[in-house]
Structure formats: structure tokens, C-alpha cells
């Protein structure tokens, strides 16, 4: 079973090479990409089942035993992230294929799109599966390099302007991460996560704290946590719709995943919980206030994206099993919903020629299905019962109340406020873009939306609803994952079965 483990990384990489060779034959190229991501998704599901039933799946690459060689580890958290991310990437790929076929699209994906997209997927899966701090760094770099190409796709003036901000900020965070990796190695003599878990415990407290803060700083930039989040709403919205969707869904969540991993496995004990709670609260409130002020759908959703990262950080900062389970559930929910919303924004752009709220109106009447596709995930994001957004927020707020204390109580209040403001923002978009009388931009001749684009969006909306229906079993998995993360022993024992060398 563990032989399947490298497939989610290797298959997209090989697919990328193949699609690059097939650049002149778009049909075959599309088929290869879809096939690769389908394989990745299937393997991910198998891995999740395996990890849930029998504990973490571990593979030492090249047969080198763990502390020396590189290991890939799929515990429940990693496998769950893998499943959701590959499902989302597959849907977005289908959407982009649909967009490429539509004749009206000005921003049709170019030849380089498919190879780069597959490399991005490989980077994301590699980051999830890495059992080694340096391999995690390499995973980040793979996905960053691919994202640089995707965000500046076409090389237009706006994309270069916003892309340069994104590139510089990402490189800076990588440098901080790399420096932290170097310092961790200097302090402990290892980078294997399981071995680090033991060796970091023996370090003096202040050295440990310095390393922890440095890693957190690097991941917080990638996850767009408040004081370090200003780059995100500036750089994401200008990219093509499928690219923005997959960035919004996955890239920040890889950062959140890295934060969860390091906070639980490497630095348990909650030394920085207070700090994390403060930034989580600020991320929520400042992010959503930014969204309130926006007049463009894509920018608005970028701000809600930043805002809702705060919920996940809040769950991590509680460092209780309930909080962590809520955070993991929220990550799964948010990947799906945020991606869906950006895809819908792409559909709106395709249909009405703009995502600017000042030029939109009457979409609910002209395109009823589009209205439904927007309404369901928007209400889900805002946390209206019975959707998964409500369940995730409820889980987190309950965990916050159970934790007790002034700071968690403040965070619960901030979370509720954010949820209400998200509802305000969502209904504002609904009222302006969908409900009011048609505006200038919308009265252009009707465009038939490509079936594949709509189909992929419908699939993602349905996936989001499935998360709601299957929330019970899913919460079981996340609770189990959270317990495993907090106890640390299942992970360490799976990687180093013979004990510490």
C-alpha cells in the first residue's frame, strides 16, 4: 500500500513533462492532464482510507531508512488534505478546459497552462506528503515556481504589476523558511520531522521559541495571516479565473497545513498560542472589513479568503483536540467553498463581461442557474445553517467556549462578528449583482456559457453540499486526525518504528 505514496507527486510531474511534449496537440494534452489528476485523486482516496483504518502510511524513498533518507508520510491530516486538494484541482482543470473552448474568452489558457498546472499540483501534494522539513521546503518551491508562471500568464501589464508583488513576497517568505530550515538543522542535526519532534524538545526554551517564530513567520506569509496578508488581495484577482480559484483554494491552505504540522508535531505546548489568537482575531476582523469596502467580486472574495484564514489559525491556537478538529474541518470546507466562489466569479465575468459590482445587475433573472451557483456557496461561506460553513464555525466556536478564558472568548465574539459581516458581504453581492435591475454591462448580447465550465462549478457546489451531508463522518475523521496530531506518537512511531536512533 505504501508503494502508492509517491504517485500523487510523481504522476503530475510526469504528466507535466508529457503535456509539455504534447504542446502542439491540445486534445491529447487535455486528456493527459485530466487522466493524471484523476489518478492522483483516486490514489488520495485510497491513502485516506488506509490512513484512517491502519494509521499513517510511510514510505522511505529509495529504501534509505528514515533519519537519513527522505520519507513521505500520509497520516490522516495529510491524506485528507490530499483528497480535497486533488478533487478541487481536478474540477478547476475541467473548468479551465471549458473556458479554453469558449469562443468569447479573452483570457483563454495558453499552451504552457497544462504543464504548469500539473507542476503546481505536484508541489502541493509534495508539501502535504513531506515527512522532512527540507522536502516541505522543496514542495513549497515547486508550487511557488509554478504559481509565478500562472499568475503572470500572458504577461499583460496588470498581471506583471500584480505578479511582481506576489513574486517578491513569495521569494522573501521562501528565504525566511530556508534560513529557518538551516537554523533548525544547525540546532538539532536533523530535518526529519519525526526525529525533530524528539530533538526539539531537548533544546533550550528560547532557542526553540526563536526557531518556532521563524518558521511561523514564513508560513504565515504564505497563509496570508493578517499583518502579512496585504499581498494577497493585490495579486490574486488579476490572474485568469481558474488560476485565481486554485490559488485561493490551495496555496494559502498549504501554509495553514504547514502551520498545523509544525505547531502540533514540532512545537507542542502552545508557547505562542496567545500570539496566534491575537493575529487570528485581527485576520478575521480586518480581512472582512476589507471585503465590506470592495466593489469588485474577485477582490471582495480575496478579502473573505484572508478573513476566513483567521478561523483556522484560531482552531490551531486553541491547541485542544476540539479546536484542531474544527480547524481541519474548516480547512477542508474553505478550500472547496472559496474555490467555488472564484469559479462563479469567473462565470459571471464570462457571462456579463465584468466582475465589477458597479457594472453588474440582474444576473439572477438572466442566468438563474448562475444565481443558484453563487447563492449556495456564498451562504455556505457566511455560515448559514445547515451548510458546512455553519458546522465548521460552530465546531470552532464551541471549542473556543470550552477552552474558557478571556482571549478565547474575545475570539469567539470576533468569529461571530466575522460570520455576520460575511453574510452582509455575501448578501450585498447578491443584491447588487444578481437581484437589482440589469445594468449596462449585463445587457450585452447573451453569451452561452460553456457546458464544461458550468458542469465543473456544479460539481464543486455539489462537493460542498456533500461536505455538509457527510459532516458527521468527516468530523469523525478530523477529530481522529486531531487526536493523533496532539498525541504525536502515531506519527513518530510510524516513521521511526525502531525508536530514536
Amino acid at each position: 500500500m505504501s508503494r502508492l505514496l509517491p504517485l500523487p507527486v510523481v504522476v503530475p510531474l510526469l504528466g507535466a513533462a508529457l503535456t509539455l511534449l504534447l504542446a502542439t496537440r491540445p486534445r491529447v494534452q487535455r486528456a493527459v492532464s485530466v487522466l493524471c489528476l484523476t489518478v492522483t485523486f483516486t490514489v488520495a482516496v485510497v491513502l485516506l482510507v488506509q490512513a484512517y483504518r491502519h494509521g499513517p502510511v510511510v514510505l522511505a524513498i529509495g529504501g534509505w531508512p528514515p533519519p537519513v533518507g527522505i520519507v513521505l508520510v500520509a497520516d490522516q491530516l495529510a491524506a485528507l488534505m490530499l483528497v480535497v486538494s486533488s478533487a478541487v484541482t481536478l474540477c478547476v482543470l475541467l473548468y479551465s478546459i471549458g473556458q479554453g473552448r469558449s469562443e468569447t474568452s479573452e483570457s483563454a489558457p495558453v499552451v504552457i497552462f497544462h504543464p504548469t498546472y500539473l507542476v503546481l499540483t505536484a508541489g502541493v501534494t509534495n508539501a502535504f506528503l513531506a515527512g522532512d522539513l527540507f522536502n516541505l521546503f522543496v514542495g513549497f518551491e515547486i508550487l511557488l515556481a509554478a504559481s509565478f508562471v500562472l499568475i503572470t500568464l500572458g504577461g499583460t501589464e496588470t498581471r506583471i504589476r500584480t505578479g511582481s508583488t506576489y513574486v517578491v513576497v513569495s521569494i522573501l517568505s521562501s528565504m525566511i523558511f530556508l534560513a529557518a530550515v538551516g537554523l533548525v538543522y544547525a540546532a538539532t542535526g536533523t530535518l526529519n520531522l519525526a526525529q525533530l519532534a524528539q530533538r526539539l524538545d531537548d533544546l533550550p526554551d528560547n532557542v526553540r521559541l526563536a526557531l518556532q517564530l521563524m518558521l511561523l513567520l514564513a508560513f504565515a506569509i504564505k497563509a496570508a495571516v493578517f499583518p502579512l496578508s496585504a499581498w494577497l488581495p493585490d495579486s490574486y484577482p488579476t490572474a485568469p479565473a481558474p488560476v485565481t480559484a486554485v490559488f485561493a483554494g490551495l496555496l494559502t491552505k498549504v501554509g495553514v497545513y504547514a502551520i498545523i504540522r509544525t505547531e502540533t508535531l514540532l512545537f507542542p505546548g502552545g508557547q505562542v498560542d496567545g500570539l496566534l489568537m491575537v493575529v487570528a482575531g485581527l485576520t478575521m476582523v480586518v480581512g472582512i472589513l476589507g471585503a465590506v469596502a470592495q466593489s469588485d467580486m474577485k477582490r471582495l472574495f480575496s478579502f473573505t479568503l484572508v478573513s476566513h484564514i483567521g478561523y483556522m489559525i484560531f482552531g490551531v491556537a486553541l491547541s485542544t483536540a476540539a479546536g484542531l478538529a474544527g480547524a481541519i474541518f474548516y480547512v477542508v470546507h474553505h478550500i472547496t467553498i472559496q474555490t467555488t466562489l472564484f469559479l462563479v466569479a469567473g462565470l459571471v465575468e464570462e457571462r456579463a463581461g465584468s466582475t465589477d459590482l458597479r457594472r453588474l445587475g440582474g444576473l439572477a433573472r438572466m442566468a438563474p442557474l448562475l444565481g443558484v451557483l453563487f447563492f449556495v456557496p456564498a451562504m455556505n461561506l457566511a455560515g448559514v445553517p445547515p451548510f458546512s460553513g455553519f458546522l465548521g464555525k460552530l465546531g470552532l466556536l464551541q471549542a473556543g467556549v470550552a477552552a474558557g478564558g478571556a482571549l478565547p472568548a474575545t475570539l469567539v465574539a470576533a468569529g461571530t462578528l466575522t460570520s455576520l459581516l460575511t453574510l452582509y458581504v455575501a448578501s450585498r453581492v447578491w443584491n447588487i449583482a444578481f437581484w437589482r435591475a440589469p445594468r449596462i454591462a449585463a445587457t450585452e448580447p447573451a453569451v452561452r456559457l460553456p457546458t464544461l465550465m458550468v458542469g465543473a462549478t456544479v460539481a464543486l457546489v455539489a462537493f460542498g453540499l456533500t461536505l455538509t451531508v457527510l459532516a458527521g463522518p468527516l468530523f469523525d475523521v478530523t477529530a481522529d486526525a486531531a487526536t493523533d496530531l496532539l498525541s504525536r506518537t502515531p506519527y513518530v512511531r510510524a516513521v521511526l518504528p525502531g525508536g530514536t536512533p
Partner: protein
């Protein structure tokens, strides 16, 4: 672990400090070319830092000497990867800077759209007016007269995304 007790030499530590310091200062500039130089300096500084994390000593080749006196090969392997990555990023940033110069005649990173809008609005002392356009009972003819709404509804059904 005898060689590592002394720690890395002061000169190398200072070199890291100078490289990183200069890199950070250059990163704060507005021009992409200077930022690029900053990234190069910062990257080299960090790579040197990783190299300092390992034990120094002889060549880490089995059979050339006692294992205790060998240098630590792992940071060297890591730094090779890191150099390649820094190189790739540098090349990409160079391409972005060139493209920016090609398109705008300048490689300066401008203020973002939002900032400029806010400055403009603050100058004119006005608030954002997104929500007010065409809102209210008088702005929406259908709220006054429901008849056209139904006709539109019927006609609109045909061109929805089905």
C-alpha cells in the same frame, strides 16, 4: 563532533550578516532591478548560513579518512538544491523586470490600484459609492411597476446557462 565545538568562523558569520543585511535593504527599494539584486544577496547569505549549520572537516568521501573528521555532507546537499532554486527564482524575477520595462518603460513597482483610489478619494474627501448606484425604490423601476418584471422573467429564461 570535535570540530563543531568551535562553531563556524567569525568571518563567515559576518559574511552572512552583511549579505543578508544588504539584501534586505535592497529589497526595500521600488525598482525591480534593485529588488532582484537584493534577492540574489539575500539568497546567497541564506545559503551560506545553511552551510555553516553543518560540521566542518575533510571531504565526506568514504575511505579518505576517519569518519569523525569528515565534514557534514547534508547541508552541502541541501545548499545545492537551494542554490538551484534561488537561481531559478532570480531568472524569473529578471524576466518579470524585463517584461515590466518592456511594457511600461520602467521597472518600478507602482502603488497598487486600491491605494491610488483611496488617495484620490481622500483628496476629494468622498466616500465609496458602490452600493448607491441605482439603488432605492426610485432607482429600480420594477419596484414601482411590477409588470415589466414578469415579462423580463419569461424572456430571460431562455438564455440562462443551461
Amino acid at each position: 563532533m570535535t570540530a563543531s565545538d568551535a562553531g563556524p568562523t567569525m568571518v563567515l558569520v559576518l559574511a552572512v550578516a552583511v549579505l543578508v543585511g544588504c539584501g534586505v535593504i535592497l529589497l526595500l527599494e521600488r525598482s525591480l532591478t534593485r529588488i532582484l539584486l537584493g534577492v540574489i544577496l539575500l539568497g546567497n547569505g541564506v545559503n551560506l548560513l545553511i552551510l555553516l549549520g553543518g560540521r566542518s572537516g575533510g571531504a565526506p568521501v568514504v575511505g579518505t579518512g576517519p569518519v569523525d573528521e569528515m565534514s557534514d555532507p547534508l547541508p552541502q546537499a541541501m545548499v545545492l538544491t537551494a542554490i538551484v532554486i534561488t537561481f531559478g527564482f532570480t531568472a524569473f524575477l529578471l524576466a518579470v523586470a524585463y517584461r515590466s520595462w518592456y511594457l511600461t518603460g520602467d521597472d518600478e513597482v507602482p502603488d497598487d490600484l486600491e491605494d491610488r483610489q483611496i488617495i484620490r478619494r481622500a483628496g476629494r474627501n468622498e466616500a465609496g459609492a458602490v452600493d448607491h448606484g441605482g439603488e432605492g425604490p426610485n432607482g429600480d423601476p420594477e419596484q414601482v411597476d411590477p409588470e415589466p418584471a414578469r415579462r423580463r422573467l419569461r424572456r430571460g429564461r431562455g438564455d440562462g446557462p443551461r
